[in-house]
């Protein structure tokens, strides 16, 4: 092993012929060693579609959260947003890998993340909206993680054991995400006149995209998700002494591939390296 350069030593091959670190070992697959078989009776196209939608939500949300690096209001918050993004990126990788297996066309997580165009993404539009104020970031995270936690809780009983296991892990993580956003909503909403004004504005900006989230997936994660989400949001707003926004739902559906103009530039950045050099490994 050569210790004079960290990257050389990481990439160096061992005497057994395998690379020393994770590179080239085949261990990058998040579902490495998990039985990919589908249970009989499982509707494979429906499973693929559901994993793709939930994976795309997480991938795009993670990218927006990563954009906060070096821009968050304080260091602790920057670390928090990066950690939440990392959890979501992990969920995205598992879900896209499972979507690829259910699809059965030989596409893995990288093919799905890097080589699809915006109209083929199935994420809700809420997650692709540009970052704004920090309060808007927390308002979006509150809506997104409240819904996702409720949806994942129901998916822990899914017919597909891999999706059920991904959801069970996700529930643990999303509980922290939702509580983080809820605590900020209360702190800002029940804070100074300025913080209250900005928290209200942030909620007003994202609220029109809540309906899409609740209607998304056609009830496949349980018809009662909407009621539970609204109850939880009301509990947070009450604690923050904030009124529920009255904004009308924004027409359109990211689940049907109808996206805002903001998704394409986000993907262009996310996909640029993989598309410039498809053979690149990192």
């Amino acid at each position: 092993m050569s210790d004079d350069h960290v990257y050389l030593s990481l990439a160096e091959n061992s005497p057994e012929g395998g690379a020393r670190w994770a590179f080239g070992t085949g261990f990058e697959d998040p579902l490495h060693g998990v039985d990919p078989a589908l249970r009989s009776g499982v509707d494979a196209p429906a499973l693929a579609a559901r994993c793709l939608a939930l994976g795309d939500d997480a991938l795009v949300a993670a990218q927006r959260l990563a954009e906060w690096c070096t821009r968050a209001p304080e260091l602790e918050e920057e670390v928090a947003l990066a950690n939440i993004g990392l959890d979501l990126l992990g969920q995205a990788r598992l879900l896209l890998a499972r979507a690829g297996q259910a699809e059965g066309a030989g596409r893995g997580e990288d093919a799905l993340a890097y080589f699809r165009d915006p109209e083929d993404f199935r994420n809700v539009r809420l997650v692709e909206l540009p970052n704004g104020d920090f309060a808007q970031c927390m308002a979006r995270l509150l809506l997104f993680s409240t819904w996702r936690l409720a949806a994942f809780q129901r998916l822990t009983d899914d017919q597909d054991p891999v999706l059920a296991a991904i959801a069970a892990k996700g529930v643990q993580e999303l509980t922290y995400h939702r509580d983080h956003a809820a605590q900020w909503t209360v702190r800002l909403g029940d804070g100074t006149d300025e913080s209250r004004r900005r928290m209200r504005r942030g909620l007003d900006e994202v609220w029109p995209y809540l309906d899409e989230l609740l209607l998304a997936d056609g009830g496949a994660v349980g018809d009662d998700v909407g009621d539970e989400v609204l109850r939880t949001l009301r509990e947070v707003l009450d604690a923050a002494r904030l009124p529920q926004p009255l904004a009308a739902p924004s027409p359109g559906s990211g689940r049907a591939g109808e996206h805002t103009p903001y998704l394409a530039p986000l993907l262009a950045e996310l996909q640029s390296l993989a598309r410039a050099d498809p053979e690149a490994t990192w």
Binding site: R20, F27, E28, H32, A82, G90, Q91, A165, K169
Partner: protein, 174 residues
């Protein structure tokens, strides 16, 4: 468990090697201390299968743990090695062993309390930042406060001791 039915010196050796592999982010802990090593079996053909479970979905250490397990078992003379990812049931900090907790404190990291019990129904909101008291790993004082639930790694929260004024990480309950 299959392991118990086939306890041979070979299985013992494979288990010993696998258990000694360390976590790249918390290198004072072995995979056994952390509770992520779920199975070590040796088949009739001499192939070793080791199963590990991710702590967090996005934990970047997992790929390195797999590679280290693979390399460790091969270095110990096992030529056929399979590493499985075990997703179910999800890892909980309750699986960190007493020895693992002792090592965490020794290295200035507070161990987690009991993981929240999940009753059926919606997960209740936690709107206040304070939780069960956490003792400072430096001076032992129980007078500590949470600064952020998110810290340098996915699995830790950042706290500060009001007695000795030192900040410290805590492995947060999961």
């Amino acid at each position: 468990m299959v392991t118990d039915l086939h306890r041979t010196p070979t299985v013992e050796r494979a288990r010993e090697v696998a258990e000694a592999v360390t976590d790249p982010e918390l290198p004072m802990l072995t995979l056994a201390d952390l509770g992520v090593l779920r199975e070590v079996t040796v088949g009739a053909d001499g192939a070793v299968t080791a199963g590990i479970t991710p702590t967090y979905s996005g934990c970047p250490a997992l790929a390195e743990m797999r590679a280290a397990l693979d390399a460790g078992l091969r270095a110990a003379g096992f030529t056929e090695v399979r590493i499985r990812t075990v997703l179910d049931p999800p890892w909980s900090t309750d699986w960190i062993t007493p020895e693992g907790r002792r090592k965490l404190i020794e290295h200035g990291i507070a161990p987690p309390g009991s993981a929240p019990r999940r009753a059926s129904g919606p997960v209740p909101l936690t709107l206040s930042p304070t939780r069960a008291p956490v003792a400072c790993p430096h001076c032992g004082s129980a007078d500590t406060e949470e600064i952020s639930r998110f810290s340098a790694t996915a699995c830790t929260a950042l706290r500060r001791c009001r007695a000795c004024r030192e900040p410290f990480d805590q492995v947060k309950e999961l």
